[in-house]
């Protein structure tokens, strides 16, 4: 068996003149949690739909679980699980009825569903609630039930499309622990999310923008390689006034209020620090601390996209 679950080579999808996905290539190792990130309209959903065998590519190729998405879409579908933000559960069915329904939809026999049922209930932490109507469950429980339904047929690859929308921190953590356990068993997880703090759970990440891949690596690698402008955190008085004046300074690349602090992006750390000190002294604003901070994945993401947009503008695209 190949060590890669998903192999994508120069995959392209055009809708008329609009190229939604433009020659992307990557591979996901078996058992890996792979994060596929992008803004709305970047090409994420089109890519997922192609990988799930729901949409034929315009050119290029991809294999999922060893099956060609274009020639063997039915085999692809049989080997994957899919869970979306909407959870697609039937609200008026009980927990058990939802599980049976999805088991049937995945072509499991009654006996097989019966065999898997306790496992899903246990995994989702729904013991004792088998007969509860799904609509009475909290978002966290629904999310785990939806995951259970998506993996009833024990797929090798699971696609999670924005899986944690609106779920609270404790439930989110429990969810990721489940995902980690699945990946430990060798299940490959392909996940898209808007919440970049969540992408921290991924082993490998690709960032898609305007249909093309613009960054990739593990969370630490992304933060190390792609952040070119250091971010300085400033603890000072009157942050709102300071923000207003700082925004007018040409050497400030980006600044925003962050709780009771300010975050300021500069081109060079030493020079930025010196300028900040001079700036605050000149305005008689007390500064208690200036510290370079580790960028978040969101910082990396925003910066890469802005660079790309600048590049495209310069090229007149």
């Amino acid at each position: 068996m190949s060590s890669n679950s998903i192999v994508v080579t120069a995959l392209t999808k055009a809708f008329g003149k609009f190229v939604a996905v433009e020659g992307i290539s990557f591979s996901c190792a078996r058992g890996e949690i792979f994060g596929f990130l992008g803004a709305n309209g970047a090409g994420k959903s089109t890519t997922i739909r192609m990988l799930c065998g729901l949409l034929a590519p315009t050119s290029g190729r991809a294999t999922v679980g060893g099956f060609d998405i274009e020639r063997e879409p039915e085999k692809v579908k049989a080997h994957i699980g899919y869970m979306s933000q909407k959870f697609s559960l039937y609200e008026d069915l009980t927990v058990e009825e939802n599980i049976s329904f999805f088991g049937g939809a995945y072509g499991l026999s009654r006996a097989a569903i019966h065999g898997r049922l306790p496992w899903v209930v246990e995994m989702a932490g729904l013991k004792g609630r088998e007969q509860s109507l799904t609509r009475t469950l909290s978002a966290g429980w629904k999310q785990r039930l939806a995951l259970g339904c998506a993996i009833l047929h024990e797929p090798e690859i699971v696609f999670l499309d924005e899986p944690t929308g609106g779920v609270d921190p404790v439930s989110r953590r429990n969810f990721w622990e489940l995902i980690n356990r699945l990946s430990e068993k060798g299940v490959t997880i392909f996940v898209t999310t808007h919440y970049l703090d969540e992408a921290e759970y991924c082993n490998d990440i690709r960032l898609i923008h305007a249909g093309r891949l613009v960054a990739g690596g593990s969370p630490r690698e992304l933060k190390r390689i792609y952040i070119k402008n250091p971010i300085l955190e400033v603890e000072c008085d009157t942050v709102v006034d300071a923000l207003e004046s700082l925004q007018k300074e040409p050497w400030v690349i980006e600044t925003s209020i962050f709780g009771t602090y300010l975050h300021v992006s500069v081109a060079d750390e030493a020079e930025g620090r010196a300028r900040l000190v001079r700036f605050f002294v000149a305005r008689d604003i007390a500064v208690r601390r200036i510290e370079r901070i580790m960028p978040s994945l969101e910082d990396v993401f925003i910066q890469r996209i802005e660079e790309e947009n600048r590049g495209r503008r310069e090229k007149g695209i």
């Binding site: 909290s138 978002a139 622990e177 808007h194 490998d204 690698e221 925003s256 009771t260």
Partner: protein
Amino acid sequence: MSSAIESVGLSKSFGDIRAVRDLTLEVPSGIMFALVGPDGAGKTTTIRMFCGLLQPTSGSVKIQGRDLAVDRGRVLRDIGYLSQRFSLYGDLSVDENIEFFARLHKVAEFKKRREELLNFTRLEPFRHRLAERLSGGMRQKLSLACTLIHTPRVLFLDEPTTGVDPVSRRDFWKILSNLLKTGITIVMTTPYLDEAERCSRVGLIHEGKLVVVDTPQALKSRLHGAVIELVCTEIRRAFAVLKAAPEAAEVQLFGDRLNLVVQDPEHDAPALEARLAREGIEILDKRIIRPSLENVFISLTQ
């Protein structure tokens, strides 16, 4: 200066369900305040009582020093509320939507304010576009502009960024930051703790009760112990080893590293390192990092 919001003993029951229990809170003027909590904790119920949309079972709310029960009409003129299901009119243009809300709020001279808002939200180039043809991020900004047309002094946002992509989210935060310059008070609910870190004060609500209110920094200093970030070989096995270790109060496995919460870093960190070493796991990088609000939240609610 009076507080933007003062609530005393605020409660709301729906039948047997006590959605909000005895909530006493003061939000100073001119700040950005986040009400954070899990789904169903009572965030939306609270914010709707603050906006006068929901009658409390008991307790009182004052907005800018005025009692909502006494001076309701005046209070409503001073507040703006962006709900989770804010409805724009899809078949009206950006301009027309703002005008509609201006008339709703009886703002006669709205044109100058509309220009300001269009400029501020950078929707000016799209002013003639129908709302239904806007992207999600742009619709969000237009909803905000409509909410601000009557120049409210207190702005309530109920989970404003749920379902909004990172680029639009960043843009939205920038707009909120700039709004603070006008002296407005912003109160928002969010299930996302990384967002709450952007606010100057945070209230954690859990099962209808306000557990704690403070600045993000002070909340973090309440966490006993320290958070250690660890990069090592065989990260999953390391996770299992550490999870079973009594010295680790909490272990979180990320894609390429582990975060450990320990009570006493001087003593616990070496003990945990020794456990990993016995298992043949090599530590590649180790440092003490600042706790996140998520660490605090988990320790306060579990």
